[in-house]
Amino acid sequence: MNWTEKYRPKTLSEVIGNEDSKEKLVRWFINWRSSDKYGVLLTGPPGTGKTATVYALARDFGYHVIELNASDYRTAEKIMEKLGFIAYGNTLETYISGRPKKLLIFFDEIDGIDPKEDRGGLDAVLKIASKKSVPVIASANFIDPVKHKALLDNFEVIEYKRLTPKQIYIVIKRISELEDLDVEKDTLLEISRRARGDARLAINMLYAVSVGGDIDVVSNPLENMPLDMLLRRISSSSSQLEIKTLLDSNSNHWEDVLYTYFDIISRSPVMKMERRAALLEHISILDVILGRMKRERAFYLMKYFTAILSWIVNQSNRWGAVYDGRIPEYRLYVFVLNRDVRAELDELLSRYGRRLHESRRKFIFDSVLAASLANPEYKKLLEWVGKVYGIEDVLRRVKQYGVSKN
C-alpha cells in the first residue's frame, strides 16, 4: 500500500503543519450553518495537507466524506447527477431511517473546473453549496482571481503553506517510527531539505530509501526537463518505478515520449517481431487514451497512461530498443525549447520554403543542406535545423558535406 495513503492522518492532531489554517477550518466547521459563506476553499501547493485535513476533520466530527475530483466531474450535469439529491436531502438512508447521515462534500482540485469550458460546472458547485444542507469544502492548488471570482466571493478562503523542512522532518520521522525503519537521522534531515515543503514527495523519498533506493530517484529536481534529457534518462533506466516517476514529473512530454518510442520500437533492428508487436499494441492503446484525454478532458485516464507507458519504456529498454538521439521527423521542433526561438524558426522555415516553392518538410530535408553549401545566408538556419533535428545527426551530415558549423 502507498505510504501516503497508509499514513494519511486519522485525526486533526496528526496533521502536521499549517496550525493556523487547521484551526480556522475547525472554527468554520463548528459554525458552518450560520456562516455567511457557502463553504470553505482550501488553497495551497500540493502535499501541504489539504485533503488530509478534510478527511481528518470529518473523522473527528463523525462525518462521511463524499469526494468529487474536479478531474472526473467537471460539468454541471455530472456534478448534479452525483450530488444533486444530497444537496436536497433526498438520500435513501434519510428515507429509510428518518435520520440523515452526516455528510460532507469535498470538491478536490476545484481549480480544474473551467467556468467557461466546463458547461456550468462551477455554477453547479455553487448551487449545491448555497443550499447549505451539508458542509461543502473545496480545495485548489491555484485559484485564478478572475476565472474563479464567483468561488472566491462565496467561499471562505483558507491558505495552506508549504511545510517547513522541520515540519517535514516530523512527518517522515513519524512514519519511520511506525514502520520501524533503520534510517539515520541525517538521511531524514536530507529528505526534509530536498522535499521543498511537499510532504507527499518526502514520504515517497523515504519509501525509496527504505527499499534500498536513492533519494534522487524520487526527489528528481528535473521537473519539466528538456525532452532529449528525459528520453536519455528513461532509456538508460532499468527501474520501471524510476521511469514512471520521471514521466509523472514531465507530463508536458508524454505525447513526444509515446511517439518517439513508437519510432524506436518500429525501427529497432534487434527486437523480435512478437515483442515488437506486443509493445506496438500497447502504444496503440495509449494513442487512444491520449486522444480521449485531450478530446473529452478525461484526465482520470492519466494514471493508466503513465503506468502503461513506463512499462513500454522499461520493456523496450530490456529488449534492446533504446533511444539513440533520434527524434521522429514530424516532431522536429521539440528540441528547440525556447518558445521565441521556435516561433522564429517556424517563420523562417515557412518563408524559405515558400521562396523555393516547396513544403517546409521538403525544404528541411532536401534543400537546406544543399542551400547551406551554396549560400552563407542559410548557415544560421542550418544551425537551427541542427538543433531541432538532433545535433549529432545534422553535424554528421554537415561533416559529410564539408560544411563547417560556422
Binding site: S13, I16, E23, V26, K161, R162, K166, Q167, R174
Partner: protein, 120 residues
C-alpha cells in the same frame, strides 16, 4: 547593518525615521499599518519587499517564528534550513525540540491539546 526581529501577524515599530518612505512601505502587499500599534507583516514575500526599502537605511528585519512544541521564539536566519525554507509560516519548530528523540510524540500531544477545546 542592524537586524530587527519581527513576528508575522504581530505589530512592531521600525527602529528608523521613515519620513517619505512610510507611504512606499504601506503600499507593499502584505504590509499593514495600525495606528498606535505599528506595522504588521503578513508573509515572507512582503517582508522581502519591505527589506528592499529598509536595507538602504541599514536595517534588516528578520522573521521570528514560534516553536509548535515549546512555544519559544525561533530565529529563522539561524536555522540550519534557512537556505531551503520559504520562511512564510508563523509556527515551526526550534532546533532543541527537533533534536529530541520523542519529538513526534510530543508534537502530536501538543497538537491534540491545542485542538481539544474544539473537539470536546
Amino acid at each position: 547593518m542592524e537586524y530587527q526581529r519581527i513576528k508575522y501577524g504581530e505589530p512592531f515599530q521600525i527602529r528608523r525615521r521613515l519620513g517619505d518612505l512610510f507611504r512606499d512601505i504601506v503600499r507593499i502587499k502584505g504590509v499593514e499599518y495600525e495606528r498606535g500599534k505599528g506595522f504588521i507583516v503578513r508573509d515572507y514575500y512582503a517582508l522581502a519587499n519591505l527589506n528592499k526599502i529598509l536595507i538602504r537605511m541599514g536595517l534588516i528585519l528578520t522573521p521570528m517564528v514560534e516553536c509548535a512544541v515549546c512555544r519559544r521564539s525561533v530565529d529563522c536566519e539561524k536555522c540550519n534550513f534557512t537556505d531551503v525554507c520559504l520562511k512564510d509560516v508563523s509556527i515551526c519548530l526550534c532546533d532543541e525540540c527537533v533534536s529530541r528523540e520523542d519529538i513526534v510524540k510530543k508534537y502530536l500531544t501538543v497538537s491534540k491539546e491545542s485542538l481539544h477545546r474544539y473537539l470536546k
